[in-house]
């Protein structure tokens, strides 16, 4: 079954369409992507899901946002819907209530996701949810669940490169390095690549990602690699390897740059309203959003409900 080793990939025309019809400037779009993927990772930790589940949620979100504008739904709702959907289909389902609590906490002022030097003092009032809050969240999340499935034609299969990378390392005899060191470094590259706004997981197959991560880990550790074109054994050509090696190494520098460009983005959970403010500041119109007034009305209704 090829589906255990390979993923469906974005086509050039899909990528082109996304780039040309984007509602957001490219740097903002990338910042939103990165922030939301980080949020999914944090939620995965709090929901005590293994990385194999959370990473699949990251990939589903990337696939979904290739087709739909990120501005169509609140970012955290999309993140929640992907992680809920993936966990539901896997061996460790999580209840909507658990997901709701975790996202309420992460979105709150009390959240430890945004380090402001020291850990904030736990204040349950900051993330307390009323029944109405929960109900509204659940409705949005389940609506998005159906929406995500429909726009992916119900194909939820995600093959991750992590197990492949370990197998490859075994065949390379761990490059004569301590097993845990080189494995850890490889996995770190793979996990970081999940956050890359270049959307590496939907443009490259797991075998290529695994090989590039091993290459990077080996370089970092000064490990001796085979002298032949060993990546061809893993069905990766030099060009693709080169691209991925660079792409994976560049994430860190890009993150640094992001922090400088959008100092406010890292202080709180990234919401659509924050992005809209940023666009206003730049004098840009928020494109194709005819549902703004309805949202405000919803907001008022919600506030009245939770009284």
């Amino acid at each position: 079954m090829s589906s255990l080793l390979a993923n469906p990939l974005a086509t050039p025309s899909q990528l082109y369409r996304r780039a040309s019809s984007a509602t957001l400037p490219r740097d903002v779009d990338e910042a939103v992507y990165f922030a939301t993927q980080c949020l999914t990772q944090a939620a995965g930790r709090l929901l005590q899901l293994p990385q194999s589940v959370t990473a699949q949620a990251n990939v589903l979100l990337a696939r979904f946002w290739l087709a739909e504008s990120p501005m169509a739904h609140e970012f955290s709702d999309v993140s929640a819907a992907t992680i809920y959907l993936v966990s539901k289909l896997g061996p460790l389902p999580r209840s909507p209530r658990d997901v709701s609590n975790v996202y309420a906490y992460l979105s709150s002022a009390n959240s430890a996701l945004f380090p402001s030097g020291e850990l904030p003092k736990d204040d349950p009032r900051a993330y307390y949810q009323t029944e109405a809050d929960y109900y509204a969240f659940q409705q949005r999340m389940l609506g998005l669940e159906a929406r995500i499935l429909q726009s992916l034609s119900f194909d939820t299969q995600v093959s991750l490169p992590h197990p492949l990378a370990i197998t490859y390392l075994q065949t390379l005899d761990f490059l004569s390095q301590p097993r845990t060191t080189v494995s850890l470094r490889t996995i770190q590259y793979l996990n970081t690549a999940l956050l890359s706004p270049q959307m590496l997981y939907i443009t490259h197959q797991p075998n290529a990602l695994a090989t590039a991560a091993i290459y990077n880990a080996a370089r970092d550790l000064g490990a001796k690699m085979p002298e032949h074109e060993w990546w061809e054994v893993f069905d990766v050509d030099r060009e693709e390897l080169g691209f991925l090696v660079v792409a994976m190494r560049s994430v860190e520098g890009w993150m640094q740059k992001l922090k400088e460009d959008f100092p406010s983005f890292g202080n709180n959970i990234l919401k659509r309203s924050v992005v809209e403010d940023e666009l206003h500041r730049r004098g840009l119109q928020v494109g194709n959003r005819d549902n703004t007034p309805r949202d405000e009305e919803d907001e008022v209704m919600r506030m009245m409900d939770s009284r």
Binding site: P8, L9, Q139, D155, Q157, D235
Partner: protein, 456 residues
């Protein structure tokens, strides 16, 4: 021994010349390789240098419009296989998967409904044609509970996930998933587009005046088993095998259908529910409430189906769980620590009061119940209906069984009789209990006679 004289031949002048030539060629190759390695080393350096420069570039040219364009053109470039001039002489063939991409589900409006086939506990099935091609398909609508706090039913999503990954001639093929037109609604209808197969085995068995010939039984069983072997090999448990879930085409091709109960059992091993398999086909370990079970539960069902194919009647028709397990013990004998080590430790076995029986009467009566079955057939049925799941053969082992090699040989599919299609006009009938589980409470089940079984 015959090689020895040959080796003497080797030391001829011609051979020496040949060897010398080879040696020379080898040396040349080695030299070329060294050269290539050198080149590569340089390239690698260049690559790394490029890496560091692009990193900084990437950060600088963030706002650049060119960047946006290049991001869209990059993947297509990457996917292309441009062989490096240096690696031309090795020209490795790299494995590429043809996987495609994702796109939104199409609308159900692409199909035109012809007639209903059946409406069961788990959904509604209709015969339909695809408007564009005129092809006849089966449309199965997922049953959605409006306002379900858990969203789309996990069983339906699993069925889709599994069918998407399955490709086997004895497993019903799913072509796509189409949706209704209320895309924004969470309870928008979802339809599985399945290949249309004319009959289900249950209706055929009910309507046929004469039972299947043993050559036909063998062919049907072989097909069922190879489908089950495929599923198990891919870590899928079907968990609801029964004759009404087996389809038979007019060309004698059997297909396993209805994966509403199926699921992947991989690693980490998921917590499995005991509320699976239609009562009459449910394995004794499930009836006794085991918390860990495996592919052997499907093999028990295969055994029940084998019996049903021979007699045209479901083999074990219990009216409730207690009645079911007593019928199982009547047929297969009462378990002992010898015949099923450890069965006493199963949750429901603790409160089980087994009838006092003479040791003679506690054996299996399968042989007596199927007097016309050959010795090989009886031994197969006996092993499938072994109380101890460990003793049942795997689907793969079953395919190798003596029974299928003995005369009469399995009848070729093409020689199967055809049956009038029910799906064309009327609905399929259901005269059996449905699979349990998530949708049905089992609290109504009563206590049977003979011995008691407490339901927890």
């Amino acid at each position: 021994m015959s090689t020895k004289p040959k080796s003497r031949w080797a030391s001829s002048a011609e051979d020496a010349e040949y060897e010398a030539r080879q040696k020379k060629e080898k040396e040349e190759k080695r030299r070329k390789k060294a050269l290539k390695l050198q080149e590569e080393e340089e390239k690698k350096k260049a690559l790394l240098a490029a890496a560091t420069t692009t990193t900084s570039q990437f950060a600088e040219t963030n706002d650049d419009n060119d960047d946006a364009a290049s991001s869209s053109s990059r993947p297509s470039k990457r996917r292309k296989l441009t062989p490096e001039p240096a690696s031309n002489n090795t020209s490795a063939t790299l494995l590429r998967f043809d996987v495609g991409t994702w796109k939104p589900s199409r609308s159900v409006d692409n199909y035109d409904k012809l007639n209903d086939i059946e409406e069961g506990t788990y959904g509604w099935v209709a015969r339909a044609t695809e408007l564009a091609t005129g092809r006849v398909v089966a449309l199965k609508r997922l049953k959605l509970e409006a306002g379900d706090p858990n969203g789309l039913p996990v069983t339906g999503l699993r069925e889709i996930q599994i069918l998407k990954n399955c490709r086997h001639r004895n497993v019903v093929a799913m072509e796509e998933v189409v949706v209704g037109n209320d895309v924004s609604k969470p309870d928008n209808s979802i339809f599985l587009v399945l290949e249309f197969v004319e009959h289900d085995l249950k209706s055929i068995l009910q309507d046929m005046p004469e039972p299947f010939l043993s050559s036909e039984v063998k062919r049907l069983l072989l097909q069922l088993t190879s489908g089950v072997a495929y599923l198990h090999q891919n870590y899928i448990l079907h968990r609801d095998l029964k004759t009404s879930n087996l389809l038979l085409s007019n060309r004698g091709l059997l297909k396993i259908a209805d994966f509403g109960m199926a699921r992947y059992v991989g690693d980490p091993r998921p917590k499995l529910t005991q509320l699976v398999v239609t009562l009459w086909y449910r394995a004794p370990e499930l009836l006794l409430g085991t918390r860990t079970y495996d592919a052997a539960v499907d093999m028990w069902s295969v055994g029940c189906i084998m019996g049903e194919l021979i007699t045209r009647e479901p083999l074990l028709q219990g009216s409730n769980e207690v009645d079911q397990i007593s019928k199982v013990f009547e047929l297969c004998g009462v378990p002992t620590e010898d015949s099923w080590p450890g069965f006493r430790r199963l949750p429901n076995a603790r409160s089980l009061r087994l009838p006092k029986q003479s040791p003679l009467a506690s054996g299996s009566v399968i042989r007596a119940r199927f007097p016309n079955l050959t010795a090989a057939g009886a031994s197969l049925l006996n092993s499938l209906l072994a109380l101890d799941p460990e003793k049942r053969p795997s689907a793969k082992e079953m395919l190798e069984h003596e029974y299928f090699r003995q005369d009469p040989k399995p009848k070729p599919e093409s020689l199967f009789p055809t049956f009038p299609s029910k799906a064309g006009q009327e609905r399929r009938r259901r005269h059996e209990p449905d699979a349990p589980g998530i949708f049905q409470g089992r609290d109504k089940e009563e206590r049977g006679a003979g011995f008691s079984l407490r339901m927890v």
